[in-house]
Symmetry: D3
Subunit: 318 residues, 6 copies
């Protein structure tokens, strides 16, 4: 049983894996032959894999998000490791393999994350804010149990969004104690709501985003979430012109800080400035942590990280 992040070029191996992507392609040979171009993974990582010379029954049997047992070897193609599959079969019920073991997950169980978020909402003093936050969270409650926070950038794993919120709440709590002039209700609400519409912006399964939705592309999670606050206020009978509604919408709309990063207005409330940087520090450090854990322990440098100006990260070891 070999974990993905332990596979090295030239290795022969056998193991259980999740098919994360599967496409039928054809070789250039005459006549052309069909083969599977796949991404297989487990909780430790993922790798491209080729299954050559497939049969018609193979084509019917295998598809994405399926668990399989694979015998293969690791080759190098265009400087990247790639698996050549020699044998593949579906798993038996009595092999007792759970899908959950094969996907990358937040280090804290999903229901605990939800509890923390729920408790934070309970502790919001301002009732108008509390009602609106509750309404918005309700809209995506089910998805919050498993959605990632992004497609590839950061927290791209099972319950990544809820995990991102909870870690930000911890930092927010600390910063509010350090600087008591901040309105703690707004900071909490801003953290919970800032990415709350991501489950509508993206389609995801098992923590893996497959694509952006139409609404995601045409409106974006920032404007969707802002509209949810409008919807919540109407439902709760709160005036759309009251400071709480305007404040929450401002927090959501400005949290990307600059127009070129997607925010139609820039932070102009203390809590909006705080929200942006709390979001940044958590997202960026998660990217660093993920890229370090995804690269082999003995490598000094990770691969390049798009969200960190395309830089590689150096592993300090003293």
């Amino acid at each position: 049983m070999t974990l993905i992040n332990k596979l090295e070029p030239q290795d022969d191996f056998i193991g259980f894996y999740l098919i994360k992507e599967l496409e039928i392609k054809q070789t250039n040979s005459t006549p052309p032959k069909d083969y599977f171009d796949m991404t297989i993974g487990d909780s430790t990582g993922e790798m491209n894999a080729k299954f050559w010379d497939i049969s018609e029954s193979d084509k019917n049997m295998y598809k994405a998000m399926q668990l399989v047992k694979i015998q293969g070897s690791v080759q190098v193609y265009r400087d990247k490791p790639q698996i050549k599959i020699l044998k593949m079969r579906t798993i038996n019920e009595n092999e007792n393999i759970s899908l959950n073991d094969f996907i990358k997950s937040a280090p804290i169980p999903s229901n605990e994350l939800m509890q923390t978020i729920q408790q934070t909402i309970d502790n919001i003093c301002d009732l108008k804010i509390k009602e609106i936050v509750l309404y918005c969270v309700k809209k995506v409650e089910d998805k919050l149990l498993h959605y990632p926070a992004a497609k590839t950038n950061h927290h791209a794993f099972f319950a990544g969004l809820a995990y991102h919120i909870v870690r930000m709440l911890e930092i927010g709590d600390f910063i509010c104690k350090q600087r008591p002039f901040l309105n703690a209700d707004l900071v909490k609400a801003g953290i919970i709501l800032h990415d709350i519409a991501k489950p509508v912006e993206m389609n995801a399964q098992m923590g893996i985003v497959s694509e952006y939705s139409n609404q995601g592309k045409l409106i974006g999670h920032i404007a969707i979430a802002s509209s949810w606050v409008t919807e919540a206020a109407i439902t709760c009978g709160t005036s759309l012109d009251c400071d709480q509604v305007i404040g929450l919408q401002h927090l959501i709309l400005s949290h990307h800080n600059l127009g070129e990063w997607g925010s139609p207005v820039q932070p102009q409330m203390a809590e909006a400035v705080a929200l942006h940087y709390i979001d940044m520090i958590d997202a960026k450090l998660q990217m660093v942590e993920d890229s370090l854990s995804a690269s082999p322990q003995h490598e000094e440098w990770t691969s390049t990280v798009r969200g960190l100006e395309g830089k590689q990260i150096f592993r300090t070891n003293f």
Copy 2:
């Protein structure tokens, strides 16, 4: 009776004018004396004016948006003409002077503009779109009768916003005939709604914007208008997920084209691309027309126009 745009340095003059701005300031002399620092104007333009050595009763008598009769002379201060007021008094009722004659207005009467907008709405075929547009226009109906389209950039005059909409509707109508693949309902609705929240973004009187509102700074007219579509859909019982609602929100959100110009999403529907460029061509040509008519006929170059990359415009005369 001398019009503002006819005043030249060294002129002595008498006339009726509108006090557009008035501030009490103090000279550096010992002891300091109070004076009025004013902007006076008529339908042809405006100019800075100083009224030295004012009395206490002057301070009580005069304020902004008042009509007055002035005797003065034109001086030059820091390369700009400036009026030195020698005498000033308020107008008598029997002088038969109407405020409307002293402000810059759209060349078409306000109620005619509103009729055109109303008729365009009547001709929208898609009922969901029609209802939403109607709802949003109703919210600002009164203000649409007189609001300018911007603080200084373009259409900064009485009913400028309605005039901007009507001219854009004319262009939109032409483009939809030229390219029938465009959805004419969406183009019409997009034009009417794109700046519909400007009367909430800015505080204005008589076509003059005094300042941005809190909502204007914190949320901005783009996100406000998008939320109004949400509100309208809820009120009309239209699903927030239907294509019409998403389409209208996309048109509003993307009409500034780029993130750095305030749009959180970029145009991704044919009608959104059309809307942006129809907005641009009308706004930019209005800036040109306004700057040419605001500068003396005998001057080859206008003053610099901020909305046109800070360039001056050359007056062609052949």
Copy 3:
């Protein structure tokens, strides 16, 4: 007989097509074998095609811009459809196939477009402007009958340049009526001349640009057209310093609006501002229309369009 834009992966088909590009390449096999790497097309689109195991006589027989009959099947390679050619032969004279049926063309016949342009020139009142426009158009008259307006960006089809000019003239005519302060002669002349040197900037055949010319790369169509105005004025005996010559050169030089888009000066005449935005609205909407018609009717999203900030376009269907 199957049209290119109807071909789907796995299809087997027979039909007549135009060879748009053809290159002889070699496989990695031992010993390597020659094959044709081709782009084949018809009036509806184009697709990559491979012809494996070619003979020496094949190499002599086939070349670009030739019409052929092909039997093949559609495969998928690197996520894109690709044709595998099984049989190919040249056409017989009695098959009555005309090259014109196989290239994408403007929806209006080339000679009608030229007539419209000619009539517009006839209607220019200012004689100096008329002479210069006439002189410049004469220089590329033959090419104007068939040249595209760009390599890939927009109007990249047979007579695309003339079509672009004619559609812009329609919009220009409308805008001049809407805003009578514009000089209609300058607007017309600017539209006809703004891209007039493109046939010298690019080498094209049948509406397909193969490459930029040396002059195109080293001088660019903007400076070439400006020099043509100089040449025209000298030939017509018009002073190089008169307002008409300066005005026309300004229109040409500034029509890309910004330095980073290739304009050495920015629009500083009302007609130059109008020209730029008329150009933009026509070019951008043509890109939208082309990308929608090039993608299958049942797909909600087109492929990405470079000229539209790299965005895909969403197909509205209500």
Copy 4:
């Protein structure tokens, strides 16, 4: 006794103040007269002040950083409040006024801040790092007791630099607990060293920066601090090529994140990413807090803050 931040236009007042800046200028009158153009302040803020009709003895008696008693009135000049001084005298010894009461200071006493920094250094485990940090802090120990962190941007007050370091250490401590993969020694050292050369970059007295030094302009605090690490390593006998020296220099050099913000390299270690965002969150929130406390309680909006994209901050009050 009136505090600066309580002064409103038209107020007459008497009080003790610090002369922060003083320049002798001349009026435009004939003959010209000398006057003092001053900035006076106390612990709550500062304001421009004019003292007209000064004598020769006045010129000899008054200079910057002197405490004086002033009788004056508040006027408005170019939209800003300005003090007109009616009487001014130096203070008597028996008036028991201390300079310290007149300057803005960190809310924690300077020596406590230094103790916290010293304790943090004591707790660094890696001896090479500890020695280098100690050496660099020693170089500016005296100045660290009173230097501000910047000229105007943030923490521009007495002991502002030490205060900035201490608050960052608190956040760093929290983040290191939240993400144990971070090397706490590097985070602590990075926080202490990142701005350690600012006292050499700028000349300051009583928390007020008067100007940048030659070294500050020509080399900058980032490269100076990096050279100090070199110097420290040589003095301590630590190899310049060891990971600790390279790591510390990387932290210092990259802490502004981007080239255009002054960093010659970008963060490429987890601790460097953490350092940059800890610096940002503390600096930006301090700017917000300072601008809110510098503007009157009843004003909804602060003046614009250069370090926050030139935005004003809105005061929430629920």
Copy 5:
């Protein structure tokens, strides 16, 4: 007799100066009084000057570009030295004062510069290039004797343009010897022609640019010079398509390197790359030299230089 660059605040002085600019303005006093707002200068520099309480005969007697004798004193206004004129009179013929002594000039006499340029043209081997260069230089021969190279940026003095050309020719000569693959004819021609249309772009007298011309604003010196090459080729009977014409136009059009700096095409010939950097090194070092010589010897830092990223220059003195 005191030179401008020796005047210090508080100085009383008498001397001869050139009136470079003169405007009649009015004080804010009641009644307002006329005064002269002037720029006076000599060969060492220039300074703002005020002449208060002028008479009607003063207004008739004095104008720009006149030589006068002044008695005055140096004051400080808004941190800048300013002259208060106590007495002023025009000069007598027998005072033997020559205008040339009062303007900043190239350090080499104008006619020697022209000779060098003429000799360089004589040494161009390629006859087509030689003829074109000759034709273009002829067009501005008179103005080349005295025109500056720019309004303020660099070489803003009498014969500055010719001096800039000659210094560049020296560098070009050196570089061509160092890298013999460069075509020396093209380098010479490019240097002489690159700014040759500046005398048409700007209106200047005695080395001082008063304003840009209409042609300068609407077409710009880059496109004007490129059109002159067209004109020259037509006159000389040289084909517009030959490599020499295209090459010279490319050199002129690309010499600002980037679109945002005004070049519609970027350097794509070896000689065009050389030309751009030879231009840069000469222009930038002249800015440095001018700003150092314009600031007092005892000051370590010059004032900010717009063409050097707005930086001040440090005077090294070892």
Copy 6:
């Protein structure tokens, strides 16, 4: 014996070459076969080469930086020429082949370059500067004999760095004579030191950079060189605050001119401005010269050059 830059598609050839890169890869065939993916080169250029069907002994025998005799043919793969190796063997001692003949080298022997640099140092008058320069050069003396100046951008050949320095010294010498106000010692020292830390930033062999070092990525050659000046000053007993040390550090730190190009401070000394442009003119012209000589004589255009805004260079031939 065929030189690389003479090889054309379809050529069969035999010759001696240097293996510059060698990687073992595997084909997609079933079962996969190992092959060599190589870059082979000589003094005239380099090309990709494939050696199919290799044996185990081949894998042991061949590695990078080895000289071999090859029989092969030139094919085209993805529009680029590629060598198919038919036979390969290592060279015999008696074949008298020297590695030096197979690498691209500076046109002047390495030891002559070093002599020139040494003589220049000898002629520096200021003793403090001379000592520091000497110390820094000593640190990399061995590497300076063969290091390239960059990985790919410019002077990427054997002794390229020393060659770049020497050519810059020639230009610097000329410019100092043309503008005597420049401090020649600083110019010389700046040229020698500006890239002196590149041998530590990059790992190179035989003029070929394989990768950046950890120090290179984390600190960068600019900050490393600046620290060397610190080290040199400490060793030589020169004060770190003296003008010479600050001046040299400023020259090094600012020589990339802008923050986004890696300079933490911008040039603020005359010699720093000179250094930047001397560096630019030499680097850019070398890129041009290299790209022209690397492309076949009969091709009008070179391939694109990354350091020249991604442009191709046109070969003039008159």
